[in-house]
């Protein structure tokens, strides 16, 4: 594949920015200014970056409680996100949602659900609407390995196949659902990999290799955008941090610290950085500069959030109904 230099750099930028954001959240979480559960994306950045690189602003996405990466890679506003994690009135959900409920319509991010699998049919319905309206937009939904156990996953993909809907199902298989390994919840390959390719475009890809994700996602989108129907993309990765909250949970004993180590070494950002340098796409100095610029942006976002007002108790009853 011949990927333009700007795209390569933008993939890197996306991943790095998400990582730095997550690290900042993590390092500040103990201060209890973000009074909301957090679910870190560390180690999975290549998936959001590689997938979203193909998306236009008018391609809708739907995500889960673990969605900082997808939100940012899709172009969601950083200030609004950090403010939302602080449950501030300036947050993308005005503090009503918290970290599990991000939204940025201008970037085509239509919301995230804290119910596992909850967005699968909703994304399918969005694709239905886009198709009915004659748009060539493609809808994407990200979800974890746990979500594939819910019946609604099966129902949603079935419907997308039946109606040839332009929706791409992106499974982030990070091996874990809270403290349960995927092997204790599922047996065998995901059945949809065996679907008739006429009805479903499927692929399985190393989710820690951003170029692989980018390439495979590109095929999936080409398929969906050209009206050939849905696609299912399984990205193999690993959840480096604990299920929720900050820090490592290697001491809890439910998984082997070695596994975490192994996967931490397969960091999608570090390896891609090495590749960029090796291939002389960019110089080390420029990459450092990028990092520094990201740090500033993040500092500003936290400053914005901290300075923002909290919602007022008397506004509790706002937003129950739409006009």
């Amino acid at each position: 594949m011949n990927i333009p230099r700007e795209t390569l750099l933008s993939l890197y930028h996306d991943m790095l920015r998400t990582r730095r954001v997550e690290e900042s959240i993590e390092s500040l979480y103990h201060e209890d200014q973000m009074k909301t559960p957090i679910h870190l994306y560390i180690g999975q950045e290549a998936i959001a970056a590689g997938v979203c690189a193909h998306l236009r602003d008018d391609d809708p996405i739907f995500t889960t409680y673990r969605s900082h990466g997808q939100y940012l890679s899709k172009g969601g506003d950083l200030n609004s996100m950090i403010a939302e994690l602080h449950c501030k009135e300036t947050g993308c959900s005005k503090g009503r949602g918290g970290s599990m409920h991000l939204i940025d319509l201008s970037a085509g991010h239509y919301g995230s659900s804290a119910i596992v699998g909850g967005c699968l049919p909703i994304a399918t319905g969005m694709a239905f609407a886009k198709k009915a309206q004659g748009s060539d937009a493609v809808t994407v939904t990200f979800f974890g390995d746990g979500a594939t156990e819910e019946g609604i996953f099966y129902e949603s993909v079935n419907y997308a196949m039946l109606k040839k809907l332009p929706v791409v199902f992106v499974l982030e298989n990070n091996e874990w659902a809270v403290c349960s390994h995927v092997s204790t919840r599922k047996i065998g390959e995901n059945l949809f990999h065996g679907a008739d390719p006429e009805h479903l475009y499927t692929a399985k890809v190393d989710g820690n290799a951003v170029l692989d994700v980018y390439e495979e996602a590109g095929r999936a989108f080409a398929h969906a955008r050209s009206g050939k129907g849905p696609a299912f993309l399984e990205c193999m990765t690993y959840r480096i941090r604990g299920h929720a909250g900050s820090g490592s949970d290697a001491d809890l004993g439910y998984r082997s610290p070695e596994d975490i180590e192994v996967w931490a070494k397969r960091c999608p950002i570090r390896s891609f950085r090495a590749w960029l340098l090796r291939e002389e796409v960019e110089t080390p100095i420029e990459l450092e500069r990028m990092d520094a610029q990201i740090e500033t942006e993040i500092e500003n976002a936290f400053a914005f959030a901290t300075a923002s007002p909290l919602p007022k108790g008397e506004d509790l009853l706002l937003h129950i109904y739409g006009e």
């Binding site: 939204i103 319905g125 609407a129």
Partner: protein, 343 residues
């Protein structure tokens, strides 16, 4: 089905006005909405069947095309989500279920998602979907095919719930629900389908959240919904014969509930019977009775009475069904326990 009983007092019309069957009134609403608004579509198991969902969707797929009125797989949970997603994408889906029992399969999407999406994102998006579900009844429909779930469904912030009792309202509330920018659940009762009523041909809406007095009276308020309004009116007629003048309030909308109307009527009559086709415990009647206890105590001259189905799953056998369903006579009996005899 028994013959069509037309209750004259339900006709908000002159004799010259057009009479329409109850299901046809719903169908007309859908037909008009489909014609007027390209965003509207109708989905559900069997909406394009020969029967057309008891007639409520009959022929719509022919008039408006299969893309606007279509059958779905048996996948109620995801299809609710599909409706939500389509609404977020700018459409206005109407999703129809021929039994309200199937709502249980959809509640994660309907309550955890549809009813909260607007709130969780502080108003950034709205979910204008209409879910229509019909309460089955009789002929041994039994425990899994005749549940009246309004008591449950009225509890969820973000979800509006209406239950029409006349053909006029069935059309007007369907159009209002489609026009509404929020998820609206229309719970329909199969027994209403035998009625005809005066239904204007024009496009009109009935406001969601407003009840209506169906019969003015001074001795007791009978507040009911859906088919129980008809039973209440029949009861009122019989009660009139023994000198008791009942006011019949049709709640019409359960969320928002027209508390003011109930309290105004109670202020006048001082006595309240609430009647509902659902179960007693925790149901609609409980909420209305609670409002009376909370805000209408000073008016209450006698205990509130609830006339509902008893707290038991619906039996299939005919004799047990007869014992199970509340009707006119139960209302009369309840009224007589709280209104002193007139003659």
């Amino acid at each position: 089905m028994p013959e069509v009983r037309e209750l004259e007092w339900l006709r908000e019309s002159k004799p010259s006005e057009r009479m329409l069957g109850y299901p046809q009134a719903i169908c007309e609403a859908l037909d008009q909405a489909l014609a007027l608004d390209p965003r509207v579509f109708v989905m559900g198991q069997g909406v394009d069947d020969p029967g057309g969902m008891f007639g409520t969707t009959k022929g719509l797929h022919n008039t408006h095309g299969a893309a606007r009125c279509f059958d779905t797989p048996l996948a109620e949970a995801s299809m609710t989500g599909v409706a939500i997603g389509a609404a977020l994408g700018g459409m206005r889906p109407v999703y129809m279920h021929n039994r309200s029992d199937f709502l249980f399969l959809t509640l994660d999407q309907l309550v955890n998602h549809a009813s909260k999406w607007h709130y969780m994102f502080a108003g950034a998006v709205s979910v204008p979907i209409v879910v229509w579900a019909c309460i089955g009844r009789g002929w041994g429909s039994g425990a899994q095919h005749s549940q009246a779930l309004q008591g449950t469904m009225m509890q969820y912030p973000g979800l509006k719930v209406v239950m029409p009792s006349t053909a006029y309202d069935a059309k007007g509330l369907m159009l209002a629900a489609i026009a509404d920018n929020n998820p609206v659940l229309i719970l329909e009762h199969r027994h209403n389908f035998k009625y005809k009523g005066a239904v204007p041909e024009k496009v009109y809406t009935v406001p969601i959240g407003k009840g209506v007095v169906r019969r003015a009276g001074s001795d007791v308020t009978i507040a009911g919904i859906s088919n129980m309004v008809n039973e209440a009116l029949l009861a009122a007629k019989d009660l009139a014969a023994i000198g008791i003048d009942a006011e019949v309030v049709d709640l019409r909308s359960l969320r928002p509930l027209d508390e003011t109307l109930v309290l105004e009527s109670l202020r006048k009559t001082g006595r309240l019977v609430v009647t509902d086709s659902g179960w007693k415990t925790g149901g609609v009647a409980a909420e209305v009775a609670a409002i009376a206890a909370e805000k209408g105590l000073e008016f209450l001259k006698a205990p509130v009475r609830r006339v509902t189905c008893p707290d038991v799953p619906t039996p299939s056998g005919y004799t047990l069904e007869q014992a199970f369903y509340a009707a006119k006579d139960d209302i009369i009996e309840a009224v007589r326990t709280i209104v002193p005899p007139r003659r």
